[in-house]
Amino acid sequence: MSTDDPTTDDVTAEGAAVDATSEAPDDEPILSVEDVNVHYKPGGIVTRALTDKKVRAVDGVSFDLYDNDIVVLVGESGCGKTTLGKTAIGLEKPTDGSIKYRGQDIWESKENPRDAEMEFTEIRRAMQIIHQDPANALNSSRRVKAILSDPLQKYRTELGPKEREDTIYRFLEFVDMMPPEDYAERYPHQLSGGEKQRVALGRALLMNPDVILADEAISALDVSLRVGMMDLILDLQDTFDTSYIFISHDLANARYLAKRAGGRIAIMYLGEIVEIGPPEEILQNPTHPYTKVLKWSTPTVDPDLAKQRIQEDPPVREVDVPDPEDPPSGCKFHTRCPEAREVCTQESPDLFDTAGESDAACFRSLESHEYWNSAELADADEDEYDAQESAGFGD
């Protein structure tokens, strides 16, 4: 772990892992994301040349992924969760920071293959992705068999046609597509949405990956199928020893996956992880005000509770997310945070250990911090709260 500035990131990321999972603390992470930035220049080619404006899609994020681990990235659209996921598995190059796969910096291995212990193609094989929309992820003019034999032909050249076929059948059985001989001959349009997603999962697993990035992999499925798909993912995790980075906008699904797998939930806001920890801690005892907002926004099925909640005002001062091209100074959440004080507008909090098992990027998790003596924001007092809140809807 080497970063130039000794932020608490390294410490906390490790600490979180210890708290959150049963991993031994000295376990080597298979994937470690260290202080990663992904910045984009907005606009067309001319604007880009003329401006030094940047969209900080991912801004100084660190986390570790262990063997058989699950990290669920949760956040609103535009919070950078997909960019972070893609960067973590080496599909996108970070503008700053490093991604290490089993200790090997993956971009080093691409740029200086001679010095690298592992080939870049080997690292790429070890990290696979499942996309959100299974209908577009499969070539509609090819049979399932052809779709699944591509990766085998590329990476497992030692297999003959017969062995390849057997392998395909075996993997179709793994993803519950019985009888495999029948499904192998079908085209994607002859499969249901759930079946397509299982083919996509099977295709990823064929590469025998260590890490799978599942980008909203269950969002396109019917509600009644989601639990089934998540169960399948969890079962296969045991069989294949795969770790997952799971991206979701839905805390309920995140909770299910992370809880069943003993993983962690990481809440993202404007390119930063603002809270990370085990699911029950995140849901029952959220520390970061933004986590509370997400929890408030997740609908409950209990009609009494839901009726009562619908009358409540949202625990934010503004409903809309600020422009990511021009993020607020200090803590990025301070413009919407009901707890924000003066200091939050100037200073940006790191991930701190909280009283509970999670880490949160909020000064409120520190017992003695300038925050507690800092002046409340002018518009945060009760009278103006309502006006602010309703005006906020219109912004």
């Binding site: 009644s224 299910y256 929890k295 099925v301």
Partner: protein, 379 residues
């Protein structure tokens, strides 16, 4: 043109006799939609009967391919070719006792007979055109992308108002009220092009557009599906306020059961192109009677429920060309027996204002257990 008195003899009515819910705004009787496919006739709405009560929020919940969007289309006679809709859809305008009833001056655009009821499926094209904006209006999923990108939001409102020969100033005054209820800044939004607004703002502007001619009924098909959670929650809260302020009836179509738990007054659950359970929200969610509804509640991940109880529904959803005989859920149902394979159960009352189409509701309630609130999020 109009059919007779509100049909008191349908199953829906009998189950709701003891309820003060006689003020019906729309009733659907034996609505059936068929598509001719190369494999045979596909039934995508299977003899559906349901009444929509005035000023209620009715949630129609079902998975994809359960016929819920087809039900919405049937309400407005908007089933597209080659689909064929048969049955009856009747609309009952508000009675004209109060002078300022908004519908009073708009009813004249098509025939009204005696009891004021209107047969929607019998309308001519021009009557339908007026009916669809002035009496029943619709907001579609992802409809926020249906704004013309080269036209300011204001232009969309003007166009709609003028196409319906309404008084521009009066309507725009109404729009200001709507914008206020939807927490939109009228001046800023009106003068913006669609790309200048966020998804949530566009969707809210679209809801305002749908309400510009003061319809009685607003049909919404997954109106919040493409939005972020917080915006979704905010719009849900606003819809309740809108209903109260503008005396609206809202039909809310969704696959997301938790979304409507706090919003709706009643829920109708669709499976295999028909309603298999209809009831007031509290009773239906707390003590669902139909095995499908119970299985659905067990399969929906929520932040409150007990994770160990969650399980997917076994089996595959039915094929519209080949709907199972008898009860359409029987191949997947844990309590089904021989009778369910032959006989199709009707909706029968199981509780106050709560009916289910199942012979074995007691067994279903015993065998499929679920807990709604596991105490996880009790603050």
């Amino acid at each position: 043109m109009a059919i007779g008195q509100p049909n008191q003899s349908t199953e829906e009515e009998t189950t709701e006799e003891d309820d003060p819910a006689d003020d019906i705004v729309m009733s659907v009787d034996d609505a059936r939609v068929q598509f001719g496919m190369s494999r045979g006739q596909a039934w995508v709405l299977n003899d559906v009967s349901l009444d929509v009560r005035r000023e209620e929020i009715l949630a129609v919940v079902g998975e994809s391919g359960s016929g819920k969007s087809m039900f919405a289309a049937a309400l407005m006679d908007a089933v597209e070719d080659p689909g064929h809709l048969s049955g009856d859809v009747t609309y009952y305008p508000r009675e004209e006792e109060s002078d300022d009833a908004p519908s009073a001056d708009q009813i004249g655009s098509y025939d009204t007979v005696g009891d004021d009821s209107v047969d929607v499926l019998d309308m001519t094209d021009s009557e339908l055109k007026n009916f669809r904006w002035e009496e029943v209006s619709m907001v579609f999923q992802g409809a926020m992308n249906s704004f013309n990108p080269t036209m300011k939001i204001k232009g969309h409102f003007h166009e709609t108002i003028q196409a319906h020969n309404a008084v521009l100033e009066e309507r725009m005054e109404h729009v200001r009220d709507l914008f206020e209820a939807l927490h939109l800044d009228p001046d800023r939004v009106m003068n913006s092009y669609p790309h200048e607004l966020s998804g949530g703002m566009k969707q809210r502007a679209l809801i305002a557009l749908a309400l510009v001619l003061e319809p009685e009924v607003l049909v919404m098909d997954e109106p919040t599906a493409a939005l972020d959670l917080l915006m979704q929650r905010s719009i849900i809260s606003m819809l309740r306020e809108l209903r109260d302020e503008f005396e609206l009836t809202i039909v809310f179509i969704t696959h997301d059961l938790p979304l409507v738990a706090g919003l709706s007054d009643r829920i109708g659950v669709m499976y295999a192109f028909e309603f298999i359970e209809v009831g007031n929200t509290r009773s239906l969610l707390k003590d669902a009677a139909h095995p499908y509804t119970r299985a659905l509640l067990r399969s929906v991940p929520s932040i409150d429920s007990n994770i160990d109880e969650m399980q997917p529904i076994e089996g595959a959803r039915p094929d519209p060309v080949n709907i199972p005989t008898g009860c359409s859920f029987h191949p997947r149902c844990p309590v089904a027996d021989d009778r369910c394979e032959i006989e199709d159960p009707d909706l029968v009352s199981v509780d106050d204002d709560h009916s289910a189409a199942c012979f074995y509701t007691d067994q279903a309630r015993n065998e499929l257990e679920y807990t709604l609130d596991h105490g996880v999020t009790e603050d």
